[in-house]
Symmetry: C2
Subunit: 334 residues, 2 copies
């Protein structure tokens, strides 16, 4: 039996980092997807086959009996993805009360580890495909929750934002109350975004820790910044509903500066962010955890100019309109 | 009779823009000076001779009877300086109750209109030199106050920060209460700063208005940012007293991001700020009103590397240690 699902990447529109401290965030699924196939094995091993992940393909096998497998290779990002597959299978197995041997094949239209939520997409896709193999088509809420648990296990700290948007698609307004408040907004899913990508220099977990440390050392300075980011998100939610692109752009610019003040942006990200504005974007900001990775530019009618500007400063641009579609079961072959 | 005074330039260390909204700021005099000579004339005309202002020298004459003089030339920054000379003479004349004809000659070691407080230096220097000619060696407090009045008349909005530091020198902690609280800090005046300069694209008054408008439109977002800047200033005051350079550097980086979020930084400023960090500065930020102009980098032992990095991205670097000396009477010739 073989189950194939696909999951969208995401961009964080507003509120990254601040969401870790209780502020709301807006995230959006994009029209670039990650595909995961799960195929039953006769033994209880797990074999992971990762293709097109912008790193050379790599095949790794581990079994339940040697859980401490560590892989020493140059495939930095890929090894990261393996951890998510493994924990996702673990989490799903516990939830379903059964453990299967499985071959997992991953293909991606997006760069991995670039802040486009590929680890969440891997988690969501693995949970979904593996569950189908195990005979369960889980409700979306359970899939999102297991995928979030997966991220928590791998990263120690994780917001439910990435796994939610990978599961549900569209634009989500998320408030990390307990339980998490998630609201799917009614918005135009074809907002004209260009994404710029550069290599990352830091890991998400390091960056989250960096902000946490900064907030601990300079609480009276950092807390108002996080609060301001939360309020930007609220304003942006209203502006999205009205499709008020100039306001969205202004809010993106403010949010970018605040992320820069938290020390999570880089020279390469800032180069892309400012070049995009120079080329006519109504707003631009880094997106995701930072330390390199991606920026987004809202640039109606200026997609070509902004893409060129991003290229000029050494980034890799691609157009990625917002997408309303979340987790999708592509095929189930007996 | 001829009176010659010199006045230091300044950099804003922390708190620019936020001070307009009641937050405290830290400003420091630098080891680059502007020299103003005032020479008595037999008539009641005012003749201004501006030299070395990084614009071609220009000589303008106006009299009390044609106060509406407007000058249409390309000497953008210089024409600005003329306005300050004129209003400074006006303010001093009112205060002293007498009006003299005078030749004013200005020389500067700094670029004009670059956020180094040259307009304040012109105001302070003109008030001081003109008063000496008129037979009065005014107390520093009165000179600072008349110079601030001068800036208010020219710009409509002005903090007393630039005129105070030009008058008193050293590092000043300023809280814009009524009356303004000004505290001269006991600090090492040789802190190793490198300044980077690029052409300005916007005027101070436009930038102050931009922040005011932004705050009006997005009060709940912008107010916490201004508050955070104020708290950075308080932390920095303590760090300065302890000569804790790593903390000062971190606070500069946070402050820069917040200024960026207010929309007053530019791509050229950010290029210099990030290049300086890359080259080993412990902290860097834009300084002054923004829209181009200057950035400062705190870079103990890395002055050469940081200067080079600033040059590489198209800026003009110069070393400017903090200076303890304010207004200085250079000579009075009968």
């Amino acid at each position: 039996m073989r189950a194939t699902v696909s999951v969208p990447g995401k961009v964080s529109l507003f509120g990254e980092h601040a969401i870790v401290f209780g502020e709301p965030a807006l995230v959006a699924a994009i029209g670039k997807r990650l595909t995961i196939s799960a195929e039953e094995r006769s033994d209880r091993a797990v074999r992971i086959n990762a293709m097109d992940l912008h790193v050379p393909g790599v095949i790794l096998t581990f079994t339940e009996d040697s859980p401490e497998l560590t892989v020493e290779t140059d495939y930095g990002h890929m090894v990261g993805a393996v951890g998510y597959v493994r924990e996702a299978i673990e989490a799903a197995s516990e939830h379903l009360g059964s453990r299967l041997g499985v071959n997992i094949t991953i293909r991606s239209e997006m760069p991995v580890g670039a802040g486009l939520g590929t680890s969440a997409a891997v988690s969501v896709g693995t949970v979904a495909a593996y569950s189908i193999l195990a005979g369960h088509q889980l409700p979306l809420g359970e899939i999102a929750s297991l995928a979030h648990k997966t991220e928590l296990r791998v990263q120690n700290i994780a917001s439910p934002m990435d796994t939610s948007v990978a599961t549900y698609g569209g634009v989500l307004y998320i408030r990390p109350t307990s339980p998490t408040h998630i609201e799917r907004l009614q918005v135009a899913c074809e907002l004209p975004f260009v994404i710029g990508y550069v290599e990352r220099e830091s890991r998400t977990s390091e960056l989250v820790k960096k902000v946490r440390d900064l907030r601990e050392s300079y609480a009276e300075i950092i807390s108002p910044i996080l609060q301001s980011i939360g309020r930007i998100t609220e304003r942006a939610k209203a502006a999205l509903a009205e499709e008020d692109l100039p306001t969205l752009g202004r809010l993106m610019n403010i949010n970018h500066g605040l992320l820069d003040s938290l020390g999570v942006s880089t020279k390469a990200l800032n180069d892309m962010v400012y070049s995009a504005r120079f080329a006519g974007a109504v707003g631009s900001k880094m997106t995701g955890a930072g330390g390199g990775g991606c920026m987004i530019a809202l640039c109606p009618g200026k997609e070509l100019e902004v893409s060129t500007a991003i290229k000029v400063v050494g980034g890799c641009p691609f157009r990625a309109p917002l997408s309303c579609e979340g987790l999708r079961v592509e095929s189930v072959e007996k």
